[in-house]
Amino acid sequence: MTALPSTEQVWKALAQIPDPEIPVINVVEMGIVRGVEIEGNKATITMTPTFSGCPALHLIREQLERTVRALGFDPVEVKTVLSPAWSTDWISPEAKERLRQYGIAPPKPRGAQDFLIELEAAPTPCPRCGSLNTSVKNTFGPTLCKAIYVCNNCQEPFESFKTV
């Protein structure tokens, strides 16, 4: 009988799964996968939703299960936890840089937020030319996690990750 992969190897395999809506970063860097537990042949993966209504969640759950099953684990359980609530602070710095290169302005550090009073802590720099002279076109974008901006310097519209 061949030995099953270690917890670390499972994490590595999961890091091969791209986020379905933002393929330049994977689900581990995104902070969606919260835990991997191995008990004999059984693997339990814990995940947390980014946005509660995100339509990609079903797909991510299926892909996590399929990936771990393909490593030889059986049964495989994918658990969803809400607490602590997902935050864009969990997206790794390397992944944030890749977002920027992909043309999506990365989220800012979250800090303390009084949710009724919404103040932009720092201006959002254009991911293409780096100008700070940008304005919000729409606080909602093509996916739940993004807003639409336009750069007043290079005239390019761009998406910006919401800070949550």
Partner: protein, 252 residues
Amino acid sequence: MRSEVREALIAKLTALADDEVILAHRNSEWVGHGPILEEDIALANIVQDELGHATLWYGLRQQLDGSDPDQLAFFRDANEYRCCELVELPKGDWAFTMLRQYLFDLYEALWLEAARHSTYQPLADAVQKIIREERFHLQHTQAWVERLGQGTEESNRRLQQALEMQWSYAQQLFVPIPGEELLVAEGIVPDLAPIKERWLEHSTRHLQAAGLKLPINPGYQPTSRAYHTEHLWSLLAEMQSTARWDAEAKVW
């Protein structure tokens, strides 16, 4: 948990979820018909978030009584729904839709803020999740109220008209459901009375700053969530038709 508290919590979670589902469905009627593309997208985003919130509330109920969220959404009749009447009203014009969403968002944001410290941990966890999404909604609809109120004579007139219709309906959001006092006593959900005061204070200030007049005539104010407007029947007929034709349809 004592059985009467559990029953009250199931009822409260149902009411919270039902409000979100029905409002989301109403607003989804704008998809493809928004005044401009950006707004079409924004409202669709808000709808998707509200459906996510409903999923969380139904999910909490499921943990208590094993009920299936899809069954609750698609196989209950209007009489079994526990939404408030405000969310059932036809979508009307853009001013009507934006004002309703604003009044509801402000209530939801304030309720969530007060519910963060719920003694029932699963509810407190769900609140932490929802609160982060809700502030984007409030920011958006608040701006629309201001824009329409201070826009043109026509946009102000339409918004004022919507306010006169909705103001008294909105008060139902602050009517406790039967047994809610048990939940408040246990610290599971916040007391609605102080939330209503804050809501009145915030909304009055914002609406007046937008150039609107609060209705003097109190109008019809629904109280029990067991009763509904005629509009809920036609809404459900549409919303539930696919599921009732083919309950096993798993792919959307």
